[in-house]
Every structure is written in C-alpha cells, then in structure tokens.
C-alpha cells in the first residue's frame, strides 16, 4: 500500500478549476486542465476533491434543494421528445462498451414490435426491447457473400441464384422479373406516400419546373450542377420522356459512380487524412465498383474482410482507419455505416426480465471479437516508402474484457447465435453472417441512405439509427425496396433508377402554404409532400462552380479545396469528421476565395454564355439552371443596363442560397 497522497493541492490545478467555476477559463485553459488531470492520477484526485468542495457548497447552500424535488412531480410527464434522437459520440464507445454495449444490433433473433415504445413515448430503453428467443436458426451460410435464402425470399426460389454481374454491369433481367416489376413497385411507393398525404389532409407540392428537376438530377447523380449547354439541351428537348432519357444518361455515366464513391468514402473513412489510410485509393476502388455496378453485398463484404496492403487491396483502407484502440471504432463504425445501427447503450444495467444474464456489453465484445487477430502493419511499398496493410496476427482465442464489476470475461466472436472459435478467417465469417442474417441490415441501411440521398430525409432518421426504437415513416416502402434490392443482388443502379422514377422525385422542392409544415427536421415524421431540398456538400459546391463556368471537373483540385473544410475535434477521433461539412459561412468565406475567382474569371476555355452574358437569361440559366422569374426580370432590369451589371449578378447568384442547395 502506498502512503496516502499529501494534503497539498497543486496551485495551478486549483487556479484552473476555480477559473472554470467562475466562468473565466478559455478553451486553451480547459485543454491544459484536461491534460493535467488525465495525465496524472494525483491531479485527478485533486480535481475530484476540489470539485467535491465546490459542489457540496453549491448543493448545501440550497441551489439544489428546491430544484431536485420538483423533478419528482414531473416524473409522470412524458419523456423528453428527443430522448431517442441523441446520438452517442463514437469516441465514447470504448468506455460505454464497458458500461453497456450494443443493444439490438447484435441480439440474436427477431426484432420486437415497437408498439409499447410508441404508446408511451419513452426513449429507447433496453427494457422496452426485450430480447426474444431466436425464432429460427440463422440462415444456412452460403459462400460469402451470401445470397438471401429461399426460406425468407420465396420469390427468389423461382429463379436460379443470380449473383450480380460485375461484367456487364446490369442486373439479370430474369431476377428482376421474378420480383415485383419496377413500375409496379414505383406505383406502390407513390400510393403509400399519397395515402400518408390524404391521412394528414395535405396536398403535395406541384411538379418541379424542368430546370429545377434537371439541376436536382445532375447534383444527385453527377455530383455537380449541369453545364450551361446541358441546360440548353434539356430545356429544348420536347420529347415526353426527356426525364427518363436524362436519368438513363446520368445513371450510366462515370460521374454517377464517382459521386457515389465520394459519398461512401466520406461515410467510411471521413474526409480528414488518417494515418496509413489512402483515401483516394479507396475512392478509386469504390468508383470502379459502382461503375461496374458490382452488388453492394460484394462491396460491403470486401470492406469487412479485406486483407493485405492498401495499395493492392484498397478496400482494406476502411479497417486500417478503424482497427485502432482494440477495434472499438471498427465495431462501432461497421455497425453504423454498413448496418445502419448505432452502438448505443440506451440504458446500462442488467435486464431483470432476462434473469440478469443478458449483458448487452457482452454483445458488443462478441462483435468486436471478429476483428481480433487483425493488425495494421507497415510494409515496404514497391515504389519505396511504407504502406499500411491489414495482417492476420498470431493472436487467436477469445477476447477478454472487463465487465462493470471489474470481473474479467472472455468471449469468442459471435453473431446471430453463431460462435466462431477458429482464429483465422473471422472477418470473412462476419461478412457472411451479416449478409445472411434475416434482418437484412446491410441492405436496409443502404436503401435508407439512398432514399435520404435523393429525397432529403431518410425513411428512418437519423439514417444510421435503424431499429425497433426508431420506426420508419413508411415501413412498407422500406421493406419493399429492401426486398427488391436483395432480390436483384444488391443492384445499386437499379435501386437508384427505381427511386428516381417515383412521383416524389418529380415534385418541386419548394413548399406551398399548405405543406410548409412538412419539413425534415429532427424528430418529425416526414410526409414527403415535396422533394426536400438538400444543402450542397463541399464537393458538390466545388464541382458545380467548375461546371457552371465551363471548366473541367478536377478531383485533385477539389480534394485540396475540401481539405480546408475538414473539422476535426481533438479526442473525437474516428467519428467527428464523418459528419457532413455544411458550415455555410465558412463555405462562403472560402468560396469567395480562389475557387470563386476562378469561376468568375473570363476564362478563354469557359462557355461564352457564362463568360460574356448578354442578358439575364444567360446568367440565370448558367448559374441556376432556370430562366429568371417575371419578378426577377422586373427587379433586375435596371441592373442589365449598368456597366458590368451582369458580371456582378453572376457573383451574386453563385453566392445565393439557391446555388448552395440541391432543389
């Protein structure tokens, strides 16, 4: 036993904490205080002792006495409406895993009805989500990545197993014929949304104007605004099926693959540079996969199971980014991004209903154990230098973790009731189990993200928080789309073509007086009475500036520009920079810099309409893909007559909210 610590408390610590308590501490001071406390057990003790004094004085002086009791009278009020909306910072996953763990993702068996949650309005508690015995044994594993089994998808049984065909990039027609034809599914979706509208007694927004629709389709599928000549071409096209033709063109274009790859790369490894991660290598890999329309099940399985160095196996970048820290981030990010479920401990204690044996903490480590035996190493690269690689370590056996009582426990990898004891091939096995699990989370999660990508809000929101505690706004739509996605061999292009064919995608993004209340803000159930506008991502912004001014899309220049937007919070590693960067003031500040100057420069290579506009139409059509409204014409008429008025208007439109939005 050591001697008790001396009574003296370091002055610098006392001063810093005092400053905090008196609201005088700045961010730098706070950071210093943190470092001090985290780095030295004696400082931690001093911190707690000083806090105890301050707290006890505040408590005893009566600050608390009056407020703690009213809480009791409030106790029977409904829970805070947002109780199930908050999201756990990923960086806390490590400590929280020790407290609780995955609550529903990893639970074997069926997904319980959310009925009682809805009825009481309670937040997600483990208690409300009682595990049930597994209704069926997990589907017979097929060679990874597995196909849905016939048992669950009888319609698949009618046709021979049809893996998606990377070679020709199109899903097998026979497979599609065996499921609901696309037109029928689209009609079902339209009808389901219309039912919701009539129940809420609200009319949807009218159809989008051609220019608005075109801009949306280009930003969604090509990742940037249409060029002025594309606008001209589309608006001059009078064929009744010009939209379908445009969609075909966009969906089969290279830009669709690279835009989707950019979005997924950001979701998988974020935007900020990471040790060992070759971000653009991963993006190139995904671009290739999307361009060849490889089934998403293959792509996802590859991300989970890849081994080798990131140059030869670019999919390995995903785990190179996340297997640090005992693979806790890998466990959490895999759940969130690929399964659409959060490592979220809703409440952290035993489940009495379950005899106290069902520790959700254990579920977390059971999933985590699949990543055990995977190390990130540095290998010499052929072109010199070193390159990160995923390598199997010699370490097999169980994973050890400490439970809340401080008892050491051990677990083998386990998912959906199946335990894997072998040391090697654990990640391959995980990919197989995830894809054969009857909850179909990888498919459902992808469908929900694609829906949110096009319509501005997910069927489930947040998009990565699927689960019985957070039901979909239109569950039948989500299920039907997931059915088709799985049955077509996770055909990404088919999914997007289906979504884009809906009535919703043709609706205007602008609200009417009648449906203005229908906005996709957190906590509200979206009715999709319009195609909600979406803010441009930084990548879309940069590429649109190039497209409008007739310059080529330059991914390298874009990456450099985007780097200026990446915000990283110290200590929040592996999570914070996964958030989309939509800091508009900052974006504008940067836009007014070089990128904006380039867009406005009268470049010889630029389109003449943009470089030397002759009238209002030239400027509006190029910048916003639409002609000016009558009101705008009236208001701006004087400007046209002033010298360089149109030039100034270009700047104004590029800085407008309309330019910064996918309509």
């Amino acid at each position: 036993m050591n001697a008790p610590p001396p009574a003296a408390i370091p002055s610098d610590l006392a001063d810093a904490l005092h400053a905090l308590q008196e609201d005088r501490l700045d961010a730098a001071g706070l950071a210093t205080l943190e470092r001090r406390v985290l780095g030295d057990p004696a400082a931690m003790r001093a911190y707690l002792d000083l806090t105890a004094v301050h707290g006890a004085l505040a408590y005893d002086a009566g600050t608390l006495s009056s407020s703690a009791l009213p809480a009791l009278t409030l106790a029977k009020e409904p829970a805070a409406p947002n109780a199930n909306r908050w999201r756990l910072p990923l960086a806390l996953a490590a400590s929280l895993a020790l407290l609780c763990g995955l609550t529903f993702v990893l639970r074997p068996g069926g997904v319980p009805e959310p009925a009682d949650l809805a009825a009481t309005g309670q937040g997600p508690t483990v208690d409300g989500v009682e595990p049930r015995p597994s209704p069926v044994e997990p589907a017979t594993p097929v060679t990874p990545p597995s196909r849905p089994t016939r048992e669950f998808f009888p319609e698949v049984a009618a046709v021979p197993p049809a893996p998606s065909t990377p070679a020709d990039g199109q899903a097998d027609d026979r497979t599609i014929a065996a499921v609901v034809p696309r037109g029928e599914l689209v009609a079902q979706i339209d009808a389901a949304l219309a039912r919701g509208w009539s129940e809420a007694e609200v009319e949807p927004s009218p159809e989008a104007e051609p220019g608005e629709w075109l801009r949306r389709a280009w930003l969604d599928f090509a990742g940037h605004a249409p060029t002025p000549s594309d606008v001209d071409r589309f608006l001059a096209d009078e064929r009744p099926d010009r939209r379908e033709r445009e969609l075909d063109r966009l969906l089969s274009g290279d830009a669709f693959a690279s835009h989707l790859a950019e979005r997924w790369t950001t979701a998988l490894v974020g935007r900020a540079p990471r040790e060992g991660v070759d971000r653009s290598g991963l993006r190139d890999h995904l671009t290739d996969q999307f361009a060849r329309n490889v089934g998403w099940d293959f792509v996802a399985a590859d991300l989970i199971a890849a081994t080798g160095d990131v140059k030869q196996a670019p999919a390995a970048n995903f785990l190179v980014a996340h297997v640090n820290n005992q693979a806790v981030p890998a466990t959490a990010v895999t759940s969130r991004v690929l399964l659409g479920t959060q490592v979220q401990c809703m409440q952290c204690h035993d489940h009495p209903q379950n005899g106290g044996t069902e520790w959700s903490q254990e579920r977390f480590w059971e999933l985590n154990a699949f990543f055990k035996g995977t190390d990130v190493v540095r290998r010499p690269a052929s072109e010199g230098g070193r390159v990160a690689a995923l390598e199997a370590s010699a370490e097999g056996g169980p994973t050890f973790f400490e439970d809340r009582r401080g008892v050491m426990k051990a677990t083998f990898p386990k998912f959906a009731g199946e335990t894997i004891e072998a040391a090697d091939g654990r990640r391959e096995k995980l990919a197989e189990l995830l894809l054969s699990d009857d909850r179909r989370l990888p498919a459902k999660s992808f469908v929900n993200r694609a829906w949110a990508h096009l319509f501005g809000a997910g069927l489930v929101n947040p998009v990565d928080d699927l689960g019985p505690h957070n039901p979909a706004s239109h569950p039948a739509v989500l299920d039907a789309l997931t059915d088709r996605f799985v049955a077509t061999g996770y055909d990404v292009r088919d999914l997007y073509a289906t979504l884009a064919a809906t009535r919703l995608y043709r609706l205007s993004g602008a609200a009417t007086d009648g449906n203005a209340f229908d906005t996709p803000i957190a906590g509200k159930i979206p009715l999709f009475t319009r195609c909600y506008p979406k803010p441009l991502t930084v990548e879309q912004t940069f590429d649109s500036l190039a497209a409008v001014s007739g310059r080529p899309i330059d991914p390298a220049a874009r990456d450099e520009w985007v780097a200026g937007f990446v915000r990283r919070q110290a200590n929040d590693e592996n999570s914070e920079d996964l958030a989309p960067v939509t800091d508009i003031p900052r974006a504008l500040a940067l836009m007014n810099g070089e990128a904006m100057e380039d867009a406005l420069a009268v470049a010889s290579s630029g389109s003449s309409r943009w470089a030397e506009p002759e009238d209002l139409d030239d400027v509006f059509l190029a910048a916003l893909s639409r002609p000016p409204t009558a009101w705008e014409r009236r208001r701006l008429a004087p400007l046209v007559r002033t010298e360089s008025g149109l030039q100034d208007l270009r700047w104004a439109l590029l800085n407008s909210g309309e330019f910064a939005t996918v309509p």
């Binding site: 008790p4 911190y47 301050h54 006890a56 809480a71 756990l88």
Partner: protein, 184 residues
C-alpha cells in the same frame, strides 16, 4: 407504472448529493449539473420498475446519470466550452470507483468551513447562496455586493476553496480513510 417501494424512495433520496457531485465532476458547472440531475431523476423515476431490488442502487443510478450527462452533452454541449469526451469518460470511471465517501466528506467539510475565518465564511455564503431568482451568484456579483475589487474577491474565493479541499483531505486521512475511493 407501479409505484416504487419505500426502499427505492429511501435510496433515491439518499443518492441525490452523490449523483449531483458525480455529474458535476463531469460537466464543471453547478447550473449544468443541476439541470442534468433533474433529467437523471426523471429517468430514474421512470425506470424505477426496472431496478432489481437488492442490487446496487448507487451503481445503477450512477449509470443512469452518466447516460444523462452524455445525452445532455450531445444536445446542449456542442455550442460551448466543454470537456472532451475522453476526459468525461475518465472522470466518470474515477467517480464510479468512489465507494461512497460523499457523506463522510460532507461532515468533514462542515467542520472545515467552521474553522474558516469569519470573513471567509461570509464570502462563501454570499457566493453560494442562490440569488433572488434562484440562480448561481458568481464571484463578480459578490464583489459588487461587497464593493470590493472583482479580482480580489476572485482570488479570495479560489484560495478558500483550495484551503477547504486540503482541509478535507487532512481530516479524512486522520480518520483513516483514503482521500478518495481509490485504494492507495
């Protein structure tokens, strides 16, 4: 919802100070800790029927409180100066290891406050007695009340708190208890 039994109520009432201090150690400001304590109380009350009688109420409620801290941080904490996640997790772990010296500390602290010079005690009372609207009175308002320079009052308060913390440590050591719950 079944009514919580008497034992639950007793445990609940007794836990308040401990919970407040646990939360405070994770957020720094009494006003914030107070708000979170209210949320935690709501949650504890709501989940009362899931608590298994006979198990450790303190550990259970501390976990609920930790959850409420996280929730609050997520909801309210983004826009202001706050501790890092790593720090909060470390402090939560540390506070959880404390087996319940809070009551002991309180009695000791009372004695230590009594030992203070009258002037210092007066300053403390003004600083910690809630304002007429129930809000926290900060050092600079105390200075205004006393007509003393803000910095002088600020310095005095810092010194008094440090003195008290050291006094508590000494007293606890004499009582034979470690200064915190960490086994030494």
């Amino acid at each position: 919802m079944p009514e919580p039994d008497e034992q639950f109520l007793r445990d609940f009432t007794a836990s308040q100070r401990r919970l407040f201090l646990t939360i405070l150690s994770q957020v720094g400001r009494p006003a914030d800790a107070e708000e979170i304590l209210q949320n935690a109380n709501l949650a504890i009350w709501r989940k009362a029927d899931t608590f298994e009688p006979g198990t450790n109420f303190n550990a259970w409620s501390a976990t609920v409180a930790t959850y409420e801290v996280l929730k609050w941080r997520e909801k309210r904490g983004r826009d202001r100066l706050r501790f890092s996640d790593e720090f909060v997790a470390a402090v939560a772990r540390e506070a959880e290891a404390d087996p319940g010296l809070w009551e002991e500390r309180r009695r000791v602290l009372e004695r230590c406050v009594e030992k203070l010079p009258r002037k210092d005690r007066d300053l403390l009372t003004r600083r910690y007695t809630p304002g007429s609207d129930g809000s926290e009175v900060q050092g600079k308002e105390v200075a205004e009340m006393l007509g003393r320079p803000v910095n002088a009052v600020y310095q005095s308060l810092g010194r008094i708190k440090k003195t008290l913390a050291e006094c508590v440590r000494r007293e606890l050591t004499q009582l034979g208890a470690p200064t915190t719950g960490i086994a030494t």
